[in-house]
C-alpha cells in the first residue's frame, strides 16, 4: 500500500426528486421545508468511490456540506455509508446563494481541510447545474477530473507524485483524462453501485464527529453571499403548462395502422 489518501466528499442535501418540489412564493428560493429532503443521489456514488479508494490506499474520508441547519439529518444519513467525519457549513446568511457564491464558500471551507482528492457528484438534482466541481477546481487551482465513470489513483512514484486517471463519460463514448493530485473529481452514477449501510454502520454514524463552520470562520462577508449577494435573480416561476389531453386507444390488430395514421395526421411520416 502506498501513501494514504485524504478524501473529502461534497454532499448536498436536496429536495426528494420523486416528490413535488416547491419554490417559495416570496423570493423563489427552494422551499426546503415543504418537501422531503434527501442526500443528492449522485453524491452517494462519490461517497462509495471515496470509500473504495480508502479501502485500496488507506486514509480518511470526510464529508462536506453547505446547507441549512436541518441538512445535518442528511449528513448523518450520508455518514452511515462509512465516512469518518463531516463538516457542515451553515449560516443564516447563506440562504439563497447562487452557484458562483456557493463555490466560493465551498472552496473556502476546503481551504481549512487536508485533502488529496475532492469527490463530488457530477450534478445535483435540484439545481442541476453541473458546474460546482469545475468551479471549485478553478478556485482552488487544482486539476479537474470531471464526469468520471471510472477512477484510478496510482500510488506515488519515486518523486512522490500521484496521478489520477478517469474515464470521462462523453455524449459519444469516453475520454481518458489524467492529472496529478491534488484534484477535484466528479462522478456519474455509472461509476459504481453504492452499498446499503449495515446496522453497525447506522449505529456508528450517530457518534461520528460533525463540525460546524460559519461564514465568520471562513472570513467571508455575509453581504457577499446568500440571496442578496447572488449573481443572478429569479424573476418568475411557473409550473410547466400541462400538455393537451391526447388520444389513448386499446391495442388490437389495427393499433399499428392507427399509430401510422396519427403520425400521418401530424405530418410526421
Amino acid at each position: 500500500m502506498g501513501k494514504p489518501l485524504d478524501l473529502v466528499v461534497l454532499v448536498k442535501q436536496v429536495p426528494d426528486s420523486g416528490a413535488d418540489r416547491v419554490l417559495r412564493e416570496s423570493n423563489f428560493t427552494v422551499d426546503r421545508e415543504a418537501s422531503d429532503s434527501v442526500v443528492n443521489e449522485m453524491d452517494e456514488y462519490a461517497i462509495e468511490e471515496a470509500l473504495r479508494l480508502k479501502g485500496e490506499h488507506g486514509g480518511t474520508v470526510a464529508l462536506l456540506t453547505m446547507g441549512p441547519e436541518q441538512a445535518v439529518t442528511s449528513i448523518r444519513k450520508a455518514l452511515q455509508m462509512g465516512a469518518d467525519a463531516a463538516v457542515h457549513v451553515t449560516d443564516a446568511a447563506l440562504a439563497g446563494s447562487c452557484a458562483v457564491k456557493t463555490s466560493e464558500v465551498l472552496a473556502a471551507a476546503l481551504g481549512t481541510l487536508q485533502w488529496d482528492l475532492v469527490l463530488c457528484g457530477a450534478e445535483s438534482t435540484d439545481g442541476q447545474l453541473c458546474v460546482i466541481p469545475a468551479m471549485l477546481a478553478q478556485r482552488l487551482d487544482v486539476a479537474a477530473l470531471t464526469g468520471a465513470r471510472q477512477l484510478t489513483i496510482a500510488d506515488a512514484d519515486s518523486t512522490g507524485e500521484r496521478v489520477g486517471t478517469i474515464q470521462r463519460q462523453t455524449e459519444t463514448g469516453y475520454q481518458t483524462i489524467q492529472a496529478s493530485l491534488p484534484a477535484v473529481v466528479s462522478v456519474w452514477d455509472t461509476i459504481n453501485e453504492p452499498h446499503y449501510p449495515t446496522f453497525r454502520d447506522i449505529m456508528a454514524a450517530k457518534s461520528k464527529p460533525v463540525s460546524t463552520l460559519r461564514l465568520a470562520d471562513l472570513g467571508i462577508d455575509a453581504a457577499e453571499v446568500g440571496f442578496f449577494g447572488a449573481t443572478s435573480v429569479v424573476t418568475s416561476v411557473v409550473p410547466r403548462p400541462p400538455r393537451g389531453a391526447g388520444v389513448v386507444i386499446d391495442a388490437g390488430a389495427d393499433a399499428g395502422a392507427k399509430l401510422v395514421e396519427f403520425l400521418a395526421s401530424r405530418k410526421l411520416v
Binding site: C130, G256, F262
Partner: protein, 338 residues
C-alpha cells in the same frame, strides 16, 4: 482589436468537429442576435499552415464559410495545439482573455458537459453570473430555465459581471440570415501552466451505428424495462430506421443491460427535444420525463393504462409493445410501398 467593437457584441463559442459546425452553433448565433451582434469565437487546434495533428487552413476556411452562411460578420479565431490536449481549461483561458479584451455584452455557449464547465469556470474567472440549460432568451437578458426535472419553468436575470449563458441544445430554433463574408480577427491566446492540468490521453467514440445523434435526431424511439430483453430492442431499432430516427432508453433499460448507457434519456442521461418521441415500455418517472417532455409529439406504447407516461401522450396505445411495434413496422412498410 477592440476599436471596431460595438458595446453590444455578444461572444458565441462555436462548437465544431472535423470542419463542420454543430447545429447548436447556429442556434447560439440566433440567440445572440436577441442580445446584440454575434462575434463567433472559433478555437481550433493546431497552428497556421499545419496539415496534420491539427486543423488545416482549409478546415478554418470551411468553418468561416459556414459562419458566413449564418450571417456572422465577425469571427474571432484563435489557434493552439493545446485546445485538443487538455480538458476545458485552455478554452476557459482563451474566453477569459477575450472577455477582458473585447468587453462583450454577454457570452453564449452550448449547455453540453464541456460547455457547462467552461461557463462555470469563466464565471469564476471574470466575476460574472451564469445561467445554464437556458431554453429561452429575451432582449432584456432574462433567460428561462427548467428546474426540478422540468416540472417548473424559471425566469432569471444575471446581475453581476458579463452574463454567461449556456444554452440547451434544440431549445432555440435557428433563424436564417443574410450570408456575409465574415471578417476574421486572429488572436494570440496566452495559456498559463494551470491550463495544462488535465491531460486528454484519448477520446473514444463508442459505436452507435449509423443512426442520427440522439440529441439532434428529429425522431426518437425509446424503450424501457418493458422491452424485456436486449434482443427486443431490435424492434425499436427497426422502427427508428424506418423513421430516420435514433434509439433511446430509460435508466431501467440501461441499468438492466438491455441497451448501452450512452443512449439513456432523462435527468442523468441526455435531454432530447425531437419532433416525435415514441416511448415503448417506459412508465414515465419524473427523471425520465425530464429528458423528453419538450418533444413536440409524444407517442406511448405501454401495457398498463395507469402508467404516468400516458399523462403526457399525444397518442397512446394500451398494449404489448411486442405486438404493437411489429404491426407499426408493417403498416409503415405498406404505406411506403403504396
Amino acid at each position: 482589436m477592440s476599436s471596431d467593437n460595438v458595446a453590444t457584441e455578444v461572444l458565441v463559442l462555436a462548437e465544431h468537429t472535423d470542419g463542420t459546425l454543430s447545429k447548436t452553433t447556429a442556434e447560439l448565433i440566433t440567440a445572440a442576435r436577441i442580445l446584440g451582434e454575434p462575434a463567433v469565437v472559433l478555437l481550433v487546434s493546431g497552428s497556421s499552415g499545419e496539415a496534420s495533428g491539427g486543423s488545416s487552413d482549409a478546415t478554418v476556411d470551411a468553418l468561416c464559410a459556414q459562419l458566413g452562411e449564418l450571417g456572422v460578420a465577425h469571427v474571432v479565431l484563435a489557434r493552439s495545439p493545446e485546445f485538443g490536449l487538455y480538458l476545458v481549461t485552455p478554452v476557459v483561458q482563451a474566453l477569459a482573455q477575450l472577455v477582458r479584451e473585447r468587453k462583450p455584452a454577454a457570452v453564449l455557449l452550448t449547455a453540453s458537459a464541456d460547455g457547462k464547465e467552461v461557463a462555470g469556470r469563466l464565471a469564476v474567472l471574470t466575476g460574472s453570473g451564469l445561467l445554464t440549460d437556458v431554453t429561452e432568451l429575451h432582449g432584456d437578458g432574462t433567460a428561462t430555465q427548467e428546474i426540478f426535472a422540468g416540472s417548473a419553468i424559471v425566469a432569471s436575470r444575471i446581475i453581476t459581471g458579463t452574463p454567461i449563458y449556456a444554452i440547451r441544445r434544440n431549445a432555440i430554433t435557428s433563424q436564417l440570415a443574410v450570408p456575409v463574408q465574415p471578417e476574421v480577427h486572429t488572436v494570440e491566446v496566452l495559456l498559463s501552466a494551470s491550463a495544462r492540468a488535465s491531460r486528454i490521453l484519448d477520446s473514444v467514440v463508442e459505436p452507435k451505428g449509423n443512426r442520427p445523434e440522439l440529441t439532434e435526431a428529429s425522431v426518437v424511439v425509446a424503450g424501457g424495462r418493458g422491452v424485456g430483453r436486449a434482443e427486443d430492442f431490435q424492434l425499436l431499432e427497426q422502427l427508428a430506421d424506418q423513421l430516420g430516427g435514433a434509439v433511446g432508453a430509460s435508466r431501467a433499460a440501461t441499468d438492466g443491460g438491455l441497451y448501452p448507457h450512452q443512449f439513456q434519456v432523462g435527468q442523468t442521461g441526455k435531454s432530447v427535444s425531437p419532433q416525435l418521441y415514441i416511448a415503448c415500455g417506459i412508465s414515465g418517472a419524473i427523471q425520465h420525463r425530464a429528458g423528453m417532455q419538450t418533444a413536440k409529439n409524444i407517442v406511448v406504447i405501454n401495457s398498463d393504462s395507469t402508467s404516468p407516461i400516458f399523462d403526457i401522450a399525444d397518442f397512446g396505445i394500451v398494449g404489448d409493445l411486442h405486438e404493437v411495434l411489429p404491426q407499426t413496422i408493417t403498416a409503415l412498410r405498406e404505406r411506403a410501398g403504396s
